[in-house]
């Protein structure tokens, strides 16, 4: 097993407001292997975006604070990087695509210039050289070079997202974090963009973390999947393991609440209740109030991660005693 290209260990991030701590991320750990696409699935408040922003060290401090943990990239702990190291890292080694493509582009700069900008920051190229590279990137994302001098408002949503993808891949980063990259797009456009992202990923051999609440999108693109709830990963494994052998009651509940296009259903099966307020997390397992399989012992302690099968880990009290332990 190769060394992972990115390794997050026990990351804990809180937002401190007045005197309350919003516990957005609580001791999350996962690895990203070379060339792999890891999906992080979760609903609003699960902590996915906070995790992504932490890797990019973009959490505003105050009120956010990384309380503990390490993030290893190519063997070094990012959390120890100074300002200059971070500037070198962002865009060149690790890139991020943010949630809303409509607001991620600068409306007063030409689109080609915005791609060229990231190139000029990280590579020693002249203006002209950078522009040429930028044109190549535009064509790679399916936009003709004659649109280099157009402004963002002249593009549709799908095309704006392609430009953003071009910017993020311009310097061929090792890791790309994509936070709900297609959520704001129409479904036929989403299909186009996902197809294109898959191709680019293969060509560049980029490792990707794809954040989404859409289990369908995740299934299209990811090799491994982590299910997040209340600031931690409750289940992680390969795509097949999660989709065919889900163990955690939340994971099962998520799949169960989806309407299925291929099956006739009369009524959906939702998970009752709501995700807990991250400012007031209950002690013990965060899923307890909503869990159909809960027992009293769940209230006492947050369950630790156990390995059910090779690479398939779960945080659930019922996971003890099953599967192999490494």
């Amino acid at each position: 097993m190769q060394d992972p290209v990115l390794s997050v260990r026990n990351l804990t991030v809180h937002y401190i407001k007045d005197k309350t701590s919003v516990r957005a991320v609580n001791g999350i750990s996962f690895d990203l292997a070379d060339g792999e696409t890891l999906g992080l699935v979760g609903e609003t408040g699960a902590g996915k975006t906070t995790t992504a922003l932490s890797i990019m060290r973009l959490i505003p401090d105050p009120p956010g604070r990384i309380m503990g943990g390490e993030i290893y990239f190519k063997g070094k702990n990012i959390l120890g990087f100074n300002k200059y190291a971070l500037h070198r890292m962002r865009g060149r080694d690790i890139s991020m695509i943010f949630q809303d493509p409509m607001t991620s582009l600068n409306p007063v700069l030409k689109v080609g210039d915005q791609i060229a900008e990231v190139i000029r920051i990280h590579k020693k190229l002249s203006r002209k050289g950078a522009s040429l590279e930028a044109i190549k990137m535009l064509e790679m994302v399916g936009i003709t070079s004659d649109r280099f001098n157009d402004y963002p408002h002249q593009f549709s949503g799908g095309m704006k997202q392609r430009v953003i993808i071009a910017i993020s891949l311009a310097c061929n980063p090792k890791v790309l974090i994509a936070d709900e990259p297609t959520t704001a797009l129409d479904v036929t456009i989403q299909a186009q963009v996902l197809e294109m992202m898959g191709e680019l990923k293969r060509n560049f051999n980029t490792s990707m973390i794809l954040i989404s609440h859409d289990l369908g999108v995740i299934a299209e693109v990811c090799n491994r999947v982590g299910i997040m709830y209340a600031g931690n990963i409750v289940e992680i494994g390969t795509l097949e393991q999660i989709y065919n052998n889900a163990f955690h009651p939340y994971t099962k509940g998520l799949f169960g609440s989806l309407p299925d296009l291929d099956v006739e259903t009369d009524r959906l099966r939702p998970i009752i209740g709501l995700m807990p307020d991250p400012a007031r997390l209950p002690p013990g397992c965060a899923f307890y109030p909503r869990c159909p399989e809960r027992v009293n012992a769940c209230k006492a302690r947050s369950p630790e991660a156990r390995e059910l099968a090779q690479g398939h880990w779960v945080r659930c009290i019922h996971a003890s005693g099953t599967g192999e332990k490494l």
């Binding site: 009120p63 009752i272 209740g273 709501l274 007031r280």
Partner: protein, 306 residues
């Protein structure tokens, strides 16, 4: 049978122990929420304190002022501040402290009334322009543009010159100059709030235009109006004082602060106290209002992370 399943959903939610208390949520209006935020801003509290102090002193001038506004004591002219005369005496031997207190009534009243007057007219014009847009908007806003093109002091002077001096006319003159400010703020607010879905929702439940403006749109435009209110009170006090200073506002012997400044002009070089204390009074109330206004702007802004 199906109904029972929904009840499971509902029961799941209603009995759902999500750690929140079962105590009913208290109704926290805009006022309480704003106060909560304002309390954390020390400067704003200083401003508020100043305003309260001055207003209090001015309202209860009858009890606090040791002398009347016109108690002349020609033997005690131009006395420096002392125990008997906190702010000293003026050219007629009148106690400046008492005159400042009583004068405050005039100044603050003018400030308040002109602000309220311009607020009502401004909100009315801005609402019509913003809500009905189209031709109404064009006509009203061109009119507002013309008003804004004229320097407000000049406008005030011309109005007072036309109507004659006196408190009411000063209120009108100063108030008119501030109408454009309110109108534009309200119009801009309405344009953005108008597009919100809850306004459309109000229409879909049968609300008429008046209800939509009064209940749905204006309450959501309150923040900039409130902030502008404090600023316009400050501005009108200053403008009224300026008018009186050039002799066009409140006439002597009324102890309006601006008039007191004007009357003290010949004596600046020899008797500093005659002009200084009314000036300080003006400065204090303006300062307090500005601090409060700034604080309110921050306190009312929902996006500001506190």
């Amino acid at each position: 049978m199906k109904r029972n399943m929904a009840q499971i959903d509902i029961a799941g939610l209603a009995d759902f122990d999500d750690g929140e208390s079962q105590v009913p949520v208290r109704k926290i209006g805009l006022a309480r929420e704003t106060w909560k935020n304002l309390k954390k801003n020390r400067l704003a509290l200083v401003g508020l304190g100043l305003i309260i102090l001055i207003t209090f002193a001015v309202v209860f001038a009858d009890f606090i002022a040791p002398y009347g506004i016109d108690d002349q004591d020609l033997l005690a002219r131009f006395q420096s501040p002392s125990k008997e005369h906190l702010f000293g005496t003026d050219n007629f031997g009148r106690d400046i402290f008492s005159r400042v207190l009583y004068g405050g009534r005039v100044s603050l009243a003018i400030g308040l009334f002109s602000a309220v007057f311009s607020m009502f007219v401004g909100i009315l014009l801005g609402s019509i322009a913003g809500f009905y847009a189209g031709r109404f908007d064009s006509v009203i806003m061109r009119f507002i543009d013309v008003m804004m093109a004229i320097p407000s002091m000049l406008l005030a002077i011309s109005i007072v010159a036309a109507l004659g001096p006196g408190i009411t006319n000063v209120v009108i003159a100063v108030g008119i100059g501030m109408i454009p400010g309110y109108a534009r703020i309200v119009r801009a607010s309405i344009f953005s709030v108008k597009e919100q879905e809850y306004v459309e929702a109000a229409r879909s439940i049968g609300a008429n235009d008046l209800r939509i403006i009064a209940r749905h749109i204006l309450p959501n435009c309150l923040a900039p109006i409130i902030v502008n209110m404090t600023m316009s009170v400050a501005r009108s006090i200053l403008e009224a004082a300026s008018l009186s200073f050039i002799g066009l506002g409140v006439q002597p012997p009324s102890p309006e602060w601006g008039a007191m400044l004007s009357a003290a002009r010949p004596y600046i070089r020899d008797y500093w106290h005659v002009i200084t204390f009314p000036g300080l009074a003006i400065m204090a109330i303006i300062f307090g209002l500005n601090l409060l206004g700034d604080g309110l702007r921050d306190a009312l802004d929902p996006r500001l992370k506190r």
